[in-house]
Symmetry: C2
Subunit: 511 residues, 2 copies
């Protein structure tokens, strides 16, 4: 019949949906045990490196900020003032990039939530930036502050989500020029996790830094230099252009020694050539350029090598995520990040319009690519749907389950006389079972990963209980998680200081 | 807003569901480019090996066939005739296992469908054995011959499925003692793929061999010795017991030099200890024992090292598949198979009751484990649901899409001056795009994997077209595929010979 005949598929197990979520804290710090996967040999990595150096030396980067051009000119870069094109020779690039640390930590207001970026550490963040949100109860809608706050509560409740991204869902009903302040305040009061700042321009970045400093009880943003608490994503207007506001944001973060992930968002066929080596060469040039600028502002600024290379559908131009090519790019980019001894940021993603099977296989393709590539930061790791245009409550729950599966996979498998279990094997007769053996009884409670959302009941029991799909079961989990959410306590003086800062800045901005 | 802002998510792309399925033949032969993943260091592999050798030397295997015991006794194994327990020392095991080839091919009636098992080759088979079937139109039902035939037609239509498993879905309405004949005939007439024989007893195996020989126009089963056309799965009644009928089937296959995958189906916590090293040691002992028996019957018999180690839910005893532990086992088992220079069979699987998100994340976990472990045969790779108790039409389509994603991922990424594309990068201005560049135009048609089932249209277009999930879209694909199915031509004399064989054997059996 099948190979499963002898195992029990009984109905006597506990329910596996809302009753058990969320799991007890277990995933506070995740480290990979497998060595990163090698896709390119050393010569191939050097060929990509060489091409990226030619891009920086011969073609240059358009840097749309006079102030940033001045900073790089002072290091010896060649600046064409008419076109704002900066060219750097490979020696200069290497010298600057070498000043970046190979690992760093971000300390939020709760030091127990410190995250480590580098080495074998793997940190996951909430999705960032979608203009829409969706859940199965209320449908799809423009994102708003109530949803924003709910997502922060969910991120805070799931141990598998280590950081908050930049504006999980944009609160579109709030004024564009001050909504970052409302977001930072929600991050700080509804959670105690580290977060990403908006780095479009100097002020938004500075506000994010200053507010984290206040929440930590520090005396001003300068006090976080050397002990960063926030980071940001610097996007590149690929190919080969850094917008002025992004450059300002980058320089501001660097001035205060906060984390910077320079991430060219490059869809092959659109922002880069269709071939992966070319895309990687261009990505590499752009990422290293931004990191070099950060080091020119403040040597030692913590930076992440950011990679987000996927492809478009060549028949329509539509972006595609979690593709085979994206998975390969995630692995190969890790080889490049390690060549420069930089922590590595990558992204599990998908282009599905629903929290369905496609959303999962695309997410798994990119997620495995991230993990095998040795990514230290999995950005957008929880809640991303529709190619990043929608934050999904159900997808967030699915993502937490997928992350936890991968974290459990990454745990070590010690080989010892005890785990080799010869005596246990000797004790159980041929054709017997190990359920009641002492070796089993001593270990069974935590021998295996216990899923949050997977349902392993037999078909009859599952069907009698409503025949709910995983996506349907996810609804009950986020609902229960929100219902049981505990706001983390905050020092009243720090909370007051944060509130006062927001009030003052709103006054200044709307003046 | 998000990083996707600049890419086009237009509605002008072609529809991506039924109109384009199935893809043109592309996946006839799949080879991995990545080196297999190393999970255990050499000492750890040796510790597992050593424990498995102690199991064979000190504990032994219960071999419930006097004839098989005789075969092994003749090689020097120690046989306790009362308990039918066979003990073998490690030197004998090594000598016998070393006679198995490190790679072999199976030739079906269409030589273009030959499959290669070993090295970097990766071969996927249809699910095998479920007693139930499900599709979204007709619901869940006991499996039957009409469904059996449909699944063979689907396997034949999708290039990503290379082989037919053993009784994709059991035709439960047919007499149990002759249904294998109907299944073999369907395999041979509705498809030209190689298939797995039922190896429960001598006759079922022999029928499968003889019928493939007839379909190939050969003069009897003996003519396939040295050029195998079929294979089988030998399950083990773990722990440490080979049932008599399975031993007979194994010996029959070996007599005729056909392929044998010896696969202990071991759920940690039930059929093995809860610890992975112990499970691997036991699996290793059992698999090598079966392979040694095959070599004792006929040296050089093509064998696969079969691994199917997952775990149970320790709270209920329910089997679990696609778990983190299963993924690790799939990788580690590859290290063991390579230690003995044996082709490696593993299984992507899941325990979900629906072709939903859970089915996909569990399948992806196990599938990545298989691929990273260097599995040569992915058994049950298309259509498996409910822990193998149900064959699903929609899941088959999802699986083909997941397999194709992985196959595309496995393709090489050549690094050359042309793929590094410096000139193309130089041609496109900063902030521009590569859509119309010559480098793109020369390559765009096959630059990226074109999915069969993924829908990359924007949300508005997708919603206006019915807002179908991937699982819902899969229904249209299997329906269209069946509607367009072309039965492969067969030599009339061979077809007649197969029919006559079935008639004669049915007469003999039901006598």
């Amino acid at each position: 019949m099948g190979e499963q005949g002898r195992a029990r598929r009984g109905g006597r197990r506990r329910r596996q949906d809302a009753d058990t979520a969320p799991a007890a804290p277990r995933w506070g710090r995740v480290r990979r045990t497998l060595a990163p996967t090698v896709m390119f040999d050393a010569d191939e990595v050097e060929a990509i490196h060489d091409t990226s150096m030619r891009i920086l030396e011969e073609l240059g980067i358009e840097l749309m900020s006079e102030r940033a051009c001045d900073v790089l000119a002072a290091t010896g870069a060649t600046v064409d003032r008419d076109s704002l094109t900066v060219r750097m020779d490979r020696g200069l690039v290497a010298d600057l990039v070498a000043k970046a640390p190979d690992t760093f930590a971000l300390t939020p207001r709760n030091p127990e939530r410190r995250v480590h970026l580098g080495g074998t550490d793997m940190v996951a963040t909430l999705v960032a930036g979608p203009p829409a949100v969706h859940d199965a109860v209320n449908g799809r809608r423009t994102s708003n502050m109530a949803d924003y706050e709910n997502f922060i509560r969910l991120a805070h409740s799931f141990d598998a989500i280590h950081m908050i991204g930049n504006q999980v869902a944009a609160p579109m009903e709030l004024p564009a020029e001050t909504r970052h302040l409302d977001c930072y305040r929600a991050n700080l009061t509804l959670s105690d996790r580290a977060y990403h700042c908006t780095a479009i321009g100097r002020d938004r970045a500075l506000d994010g830094i200053a507010m984290m400093a206040l929440a930590r009880g520090l005396d001003g943003a300068e006090a976080m230099i050397g002990d960063p608490g926030v980071t940001t994503i610097i996007s590149v207007n690929s190919p080969r252009r850094f917008d002025g506001e992004m450059a300002e944001g980058l320089m501001t973060m660097a001035e205060y020694g906060q984390g910077i992930a320079v991430t060219p968002f490059t869809l092959m066929g659109a922002m880069t050539p269709v071939t992966l080596p070319a895309a990687l060469a261009q990505q590499n040039a752009e990422a290293l350029f931004g990191i070099a600028l950060a080091q020119a502002v403040r040597p030692g600024t913590p930076c992440l090598y950011g990679a987000f290379t996927s492809n478009v559908d060549m028949k329509s131009g539509a972006p595609a995520f979690g593709t085979p090519e994206n998975a390969r790019a995630n692995i190969a980019s890790g080889q490049l990040a390690r060549r420069y001894a930089l922590p590595y940021r990558a992204t599990p993603s998908n282009a599905s319009n629903a929290a369905d099977a496609q959303a999962v296989w695309e997410t798994e393709m990119s997620l495995w690519g991230c993990m095998l590539g040795g990514a230290n930061m999995l950005y957008h790791a929880a809640g991303w749907l529709e190619g990043g245009l929608c934050a999904s409550y159900e997808k967030l729950v699915l993502d937490v389950e997928m992350l936890q599966h991968l974290y459990a996979f990454c745990e070590p498998t010690p080989v010892t006389a005890e785990t080799l279990g010869f005596d246990a094997i000797a004790r159980v007769p041929t054709g017997g079972h190990f359920f009641g053996d002492a070796h089993t009884m001593e270990r069974y409670t935590d021998a295996f990963y216990t899923p949050m959302l997977s349902d392993w009941r037999n078909h009859e029991t599952w069907a009698a209980d409503g025949a709910l799909t995983a996506t349907q079961r996810a609804t009950a989990i986020w609902q229960k998680t929100l219902a049981e959410y505990d706001q983390p306590p905050m020092d009243p003086a720090a909370a007051e200081a944060v509130d006062a800062y927001v009030a003052r800045r709103k006054g200044e901005i709307t003046g």
